[in-house]
Symmetry: C2
Subunit: 215 residues, 2 copies
């Protein structure tokens, strides 16, 4: 067993530390963040830091990196007050990865990376046509994290566009059927397979599966 | 294609909405949060809301649910100023799920759910022996999210304990080798397989694999 302490972490070569710290917490959800500027220029970038914050109201959190001049996403979210999150699938993960390249401000990653904008009436920023799950949100809290210059964006879900067969009878999203991929670190893409679904846990009950083909 | 709007979400039956909103964002990392009270009572609970916040300093964020009387985790983190995150594996996910049951305050989920406490000198809260990746953290910012009563805990990584063969030459953690599982919603467990690792993206470069057995 290897024990890595604070001093070891500080002494790590930068790219080595970045690779480790981006992958240490486990698998990450992958989404394409769609925004549009107030003068109508669309923007798309892959994000791996979306997390569930609440069901009622339906809230998702997301961390954005410290702003750089060519980063349009946060600027667009602030000015248009809407954004979209679209799942990354086994069909699109290579194109989705390419959206992480530093394209100049105003250049559309939709065109550059081979995605098609999908428009929904009443919603300004584009969704991703190729994504099987499309979420429309409005920011309800934007908080700077002073520790390292990142920004926490909390959004309320206004709209979900998905094929009917992707929603299971209990309301769960079926990510296997949706073709959703998972990520780790900065460059690794994974296709999960279902191990099990487990019944609501109670102190005096044995763990049990809720899948009909399992015990 | 099904379009679900704000009104539809509001009208959803509670457990249906909870299932959907907990799974809509994609796959989630799964970790066991280990804490200890100031009088030495250990606590363990599964968390699916850990996210990367920064590499230098090495920071992880985590969302904890609104405090309830029997929730010891946040209380323990505040009073002891240290906590651990331990990966959930294909060997332990059933036991890990059981830690979500509402055991009374002071009851140790280690004993109740079949986990072994692992102690490291200088670190008060227990790690999980059965986890192949163990992370020791100190909270550096604890922020209440007033929108819904949840709490954002930001921790600095002080310690990583893992088998040497789980770290790849570039610093990345090999979650396949570590046996780490991913989650979705409140009850679904997945074992991912690696699709690809892709080279750093640049505007004028084609997407390419960095795996030696891929093109």
């Amino acid at each position: 067993m290897d024990t890595i302490g604070s001093d070891d972490i500080e002494k790590m070569e930068k790219s080595y530390r970045t690779a480790m710290m981006n992958s240490i917490s486990g698998y990450k959800p992958l989404n394409l963040l769609g925004t549009i500027s107030s003068d109508g220029k669309p923007n798309l970038c892959i994000v791996s830091s979306v997390f569930h914050l609440g069901s009622n109201p339906p809230l998702l959190g997301m961390i954005l990196r410290p702003p750089r001049p060519h980063n349009d996403s946060l600027k667009n979210i602030r000015s248009v007050n809407q954004y979209t999150l679209n799942n990354v699938t086994s069909e699109t993960y290579r194109n989705a990865h390419q959206t992480s390249a530093s394209y100049p401000s105003g250049v559309s990653e939709f065109e550059q990376c081979g995605f098609t904008a999908y428009h929904q009436e009443g919603f300004k920023p584009p969704f991703v046509k190729e994504s099987t799950i499309k979420i429309g949100l409005e920011p309800v809290q934007i908080t700077d994290i002073e520790l390292n210059g990142t920004t926490l964006v909390i959004g309320k879900i206004l709209l979900i566009i998905a094929d009917k067969d992707i929603t299971l009878p209990d309301g769960s999203i079926d990510h296997i059927n949706a073709g959703t991929v998972a990520g780790s670190g900065l460059d690794s893409y994974f296709l999960p397979r279902l191990l099990d679904r487990l019944a609501y846990a109670k102190p005096d009950l044995q763990v049990s599966s809720i899948l009909t083909n399992k015990s």
